[in-house]
Symmetry: C2
Subunit: 478 residues, 2 copies
């Protein structure tokens, strides 16, 4: 491809993306495809000769686009959002054009320094504890996802608890970890990856609000200690995936301090809310944490992948993750004056992800991000009011921020059918969870483009679908 | 940002990137900045109000660009390359615009199916063993980097060797791993992350060509077995980072089979060469491997991040990595008819990286990629000839593919000064390694834009710098 072809196709794709995002609600949110449908249309044999880009792009539109789940649709209410935004797309484009690999400070000083700088900005913007800033003992780093951040936290905790021997001699699995029954699956995955075993992750019961019960945590730690285990790590969640419940950080942090555990706080989606001082109660006690993460790629308009991971003691992280072969040695690293982010993460190579975060923070400003959060929280309250007005529905959990968990006042099978019919319409996408064993629908409002009229249309569809479902004969007669 | 602003700025960035890449050699490859220089120019306080994009982009040009290491420069000969290309940049742009998160088939069927499809194409294009194709027992997945691929391989090996108990109960560190003294640091990092300890990674000596000695591997396995260890994992390298040495896969694979070890093959850079049948000798014996990876983001013109990781038995990988919470359950996954790539990797979320790989494979075609590889290998041979013509230089290792390891016939300190002066010129970027303890310069030719005249200019600079260095008084007199 020649530079002028790139220019022409670049313009064309920019136009296509602008058009796509302006009208993304025209597409069914979930595509009506069956397993294998996409592949069946693609040629079995790999291309031998160069193909013109117009052919490639035509195939994208013909074969790929119909198989896309439209995460950017204003009618996407599933899981948590994964937003993009125009400035963020420009950041990805520019990063791709520069093609920088920022594993070491030396391999692109600006890639490293801008990352440190914007993560320090986030400490200020979200009112995070000062120790998480690079100007203090800690610092922030961009990870791909919160799963990787949790894994890094686990590895630092493991290394600290083993007094530095775990890397050299391996870890005898005597360490225990703690997280609530509502914590994300990535905690279990990280604990397994670290060789410590799912069975040594204690799932602590939750209270009525689905938040971890600190006294149960303390009891579990004491029981484990008495049985010869070494309590090592606790993950508290600010905004669980199922219901956005938030664990009480202060009592958990005090227990972690008392028993010498590493406290990691996972605020993947909800963390963004702290841009409003009124939501900082969610972070009360965060100064007791050893590490913290949240995902600007969820609710801050930054393209996936962008998880921001902060540690209070950067040396603890580096001790856990640094391996230094000769071919990576360089004067800047040896001066001790620079950050080499390769030692803050699992992979070696890294993209220039700070660029999109910088573009978003400056394009929106704290003000723009506050407006976004406020609007989504208000919409969730509105939806809650609508639910309350229809006796066929009930809330399944306390409403927190921008997530509403609800169900039909009916059995699980009916709710399952309800969800299936809603999603099959293509007019929205909701996902489910279980709250106290019961099948529960989740509606998360986090898309930049979601306006009241989208939510109203969703509510109408919910009501119509409920009408049809509840008036049809019982399943056993069908 | 409004759609029309995005259009205007999108065009502008596309133009800027085209201009940048056409003239990237105008920039000093390594920027002349000191630690902290970039940050010192950025405002300490985060932005409160939205800023216009022209201000942001002006700041990029003024503050960030001068701190970039230009990986896309034709004069970048350091490490291994990390290429982008026009079709790949378009792929990143389109993926950013779609903003898809492909953790499950259901969360974007086309994201998953296109990935499976292009990775099957690569099995054909590179002549990889059929078992690595999804139509067989295995399959391929895109990881961010080879480090993550190696970690996934380690975890699958650990789980298999522990007969499924390592995830549940943790791993008592009795497992041993094997890799040559020349293998990449990511093998040690993965082994440590898995809780198995650096000390249990046996570094096997190499032969004259810096390739792992199979008989030494077998001896180490036998010794470990007798001492009660459980040999579990061996990593063979096709193209080591220091010198592009390649381990003999067939005898290593036979030993791995005999003793029940998982064989992972790391061909991060060199794997691309297999697009030429004449280079497939590098993969001789690969059918004995359990997993394999190479990085299209190194030598195939695909933007970082794009590591292709193949396994012979996909169930072994999934058993090691799958954790299934309620909120990720869905009918497609439960049908067993789809791939959910979240279970093939460390993170949960994932970008639509197959798009850029698909764009590159079709835009270049196998033919275009072959031309690229051929040209770089020819340039490395040319450079080797030049070296041979100047008695002040010597080869430090056998020349393989597109990497030349060399030094001045002088002591380490002189070679270190030589490298420092070369890089300080800004006219190229080389990195070093140690070969048999001796300081060695590496020149890797892998950039899409590198032509003979760039290499000739590099050679002239090397000669001139050698002239100055070798004619100046010895260091002790300075």
């Amino acid at each position: 491809m020649k530079p002028d072809d790139f220019r022409a196709w670049g313009y064309r794709l920019v136009d296509w993306i602008a058009e796509y995002l302006e009208h993304v609600e025209r597409y069914p949110v979930l595509p009506a495809v069956q397993p294998g449908d996409i592949r069946a249309q693609l040629p079995r044999e790999p291309p031998q000769h160069p193909e013109p880009f117009d052919q490639i792009f035509a195939d994208f539109q013909k074969y790929i686009l119909p198989g896309i789940t439209h995460w950017q649709s204003p009618n996407f209410f599933a899981f948590f959002p994964a937003n993009n935004s125009y400035p963020s797309i420009l950041g990805e484009l520019l990063a791709a054009g520069l093609g920088v690999q920022g594993m070491l400070w030396q391999t692109s000083p600006a890639c490293t320094e801008l990352e440190t700088h914007v993560l320090d900005w986030l400490v200020d913007l979200l009112g995070l504890p000062e120790k998480f800033a690079s100007r203090s003992t800690g610092g922030g780093v961009i990870q791909d996802t919160a799963s990787s951040a949790t894994l890094c936290a686990v590895l630092a905790a493991r290394e600290q608890a083993s007094r530095g021997f775990s890397n050299a001699n391996g870890v005898v699995p005597r360490f225990t970890a703690y997280a609530s029954t509502e914590a994300h699956s990535s905690v279990e995955k990280a604990w397994r990856i670290a060789g410590l075993g799912s069975a040594a992750l204690r799932r602590i019961p939750v209270d009525d609000r689905l938040a971890l019960r600190p006294e149960a945590l303390e009891a579990a730690i004491r029981t484990d200690r008495q049985a010869g285990w070494i309590p090592c790590f606790v993950c508290a969640t600010v905004g669980t995936t199922s219901t956005l419940a938030h664990d009480p950080l202060r009592p958990i942090g005090e227990i972690a301090r008392r028993y010498g555990l590493w406290l990691h706080v996972d605020a993947a989606m909800a963390g963004t809310a702290a841009i409003w001082p009124e939501f900082r109660y969610l972070h009360d006690g965060l100064e007791l944490a050893d590490s913290y993460c949240f995902n600007p790629h969820k609710w801050m308009g930054v393209n996936l992948d962008c998880d921001c991971f902060f540690v209070a003691d950067r040396q603890a992280l580096i001790r856990a993750l640094s391996v230094l072969p000769e071919y990576l040695r360089n004067p800047a690293s040896e001066s001790g004056q620079v950050i080499d982010y390769r030692d803050w993460q699992i992979p070696l190579g890294r993209r220039f992800r700070a660029l999109k975060l910088w573009f978003v923070l400056r394009s929106f400003g704290a003000e723009g991000l506050r407006t976004l959060v406020r609007r989504h929280v208000a919409l969730a309250r509105l939806f809650t009011d609508w639910l309350a007005s229809d006796p066929r529905f009930e809330l399944a959990a306390p409403v927190s921020l921008n997530l509403v968990c609800f169900r039909l006042r009916a059995d699980d099978a009916t709710n399952q059918t309800f969800l299936h019919r809603l999603n099959a319409s293509g007019r929205l996408y909701l996902t489910h969870t279980r709250v106290r064993e019961r099948f529960t629908l989740r509606l998360c409002i986090g898309n930049l483009r979601t306006q009241e009229h989208h939510l109203r249309a969703a509510w109408q569809l919910l009501q119509q679908t409920a009408d049809q479902l509840l008036s049809s004969p019982p399943r056993s007669l069908q």
